[in-house]
Symmetry: C2
Subunit: 164 residues, 2 copies
């Protein structure tokens, strides 16, 4: 199994060429600005994540990359995914052992993820208010905060309505 993303189920359509293209070109601009090399595998990997509804496991990504003529071994996918994550173009969802494209790569943001238990969709939410609260908790423990993973589990709005 392991097809983590469910097509056409979760949400409002975010697969329109416009938004994928828009994010892709943002990513390209960003890479250029930072002197990063958005090579074919990496770019294609980002595209794959953008096309997917929800998050994709590394092996799902690998399958698609291999189908496109790239390498078929796990490191190929993991390297591309880690590159994207390291540079803020994608996020790793630890609860799902999966990855998702960043919805707004231009910001240096601290994101929280809302994971629907019903449809497995993953929504990236701004964590602006969460940061300070976490900071405060860290301070209380004398802990110097670097970065954080925030993953919430529940029901997305579409699935709630469907259930009603």
């Amino acid at each position: 199994m392991t097809e983590t993303a469910l097509s056409g189920f979760c949400c409002a359509d975010h697969s329109g060429a416009s938004s994928v293209e828009a994010i892709l070109s943002q990513a390209e601009a960003l890479a250029k600005a930072r002197g990063l090399r958005l090579t074919p595998v990496r770019r294609r990997t980002l595209e794959i994540l953008l096309d997917a509804h929800g998050a994709l496991g590394a092996y799902d990504v690998l399958e698609r990359l291999a189908a496109d003529g790239f390498g078929a071994q796990p490191p190929v996918a993991y390297r591309a995914l880690n590159f994207l994550v390291d540079h803020g173009l994608a996020h790793r969802i630890r609860r799902l052992n999966a990855f998702t494209a960043c919805a707004h790569p231009q910001h240096d943001h601290r994101a929280a993820f809302l994971i629907c238990e019903t449809c497995a969709s993953v929504t990236e939410a701004a964590a602006d208010e969460i940061g300070p609260a976490l900071q405060k908790a860290a301070d209380a423990a004398g802990f110097t905060l670097d970065r954080a993973t925030i993953e919430a589990v529940g029901q997305c709005s579409a699935c709630q309505e469907a259930r009603a």
Copy 2:
């Protein structure tokens, strides 16, 4: 919260019989109150987590269990660990693929974890302020929040001082 917090490794000794024993007997009382069966493997698993500095992987736990004469196969460890997690006696640290004893099992708490990059210690912090902030973010997305994983990465106070 009068807990003798189980804060990790580089810190003051927390392996003294007193705090381990204290938490263990809290766990026992709690199990009794809730009609749970804290069987030998489960109890020993909790002990192992309490004795450990930092979080332990399932296979580390398994090794110790096997050494104590319990089963030597993965399900033995996973079942005991999942039991403890399900009943709030331990927590799963997803970033580390590891488990840690709950520092204050008596509360129905939403915890955040502070993971030190230097010494790998894991400190359980109260997440009282984080909950509402996350709730707000979820509301904005029409998402019904169930539970959340909050894991921060940085430097614990001991390691900072050591580095200075």
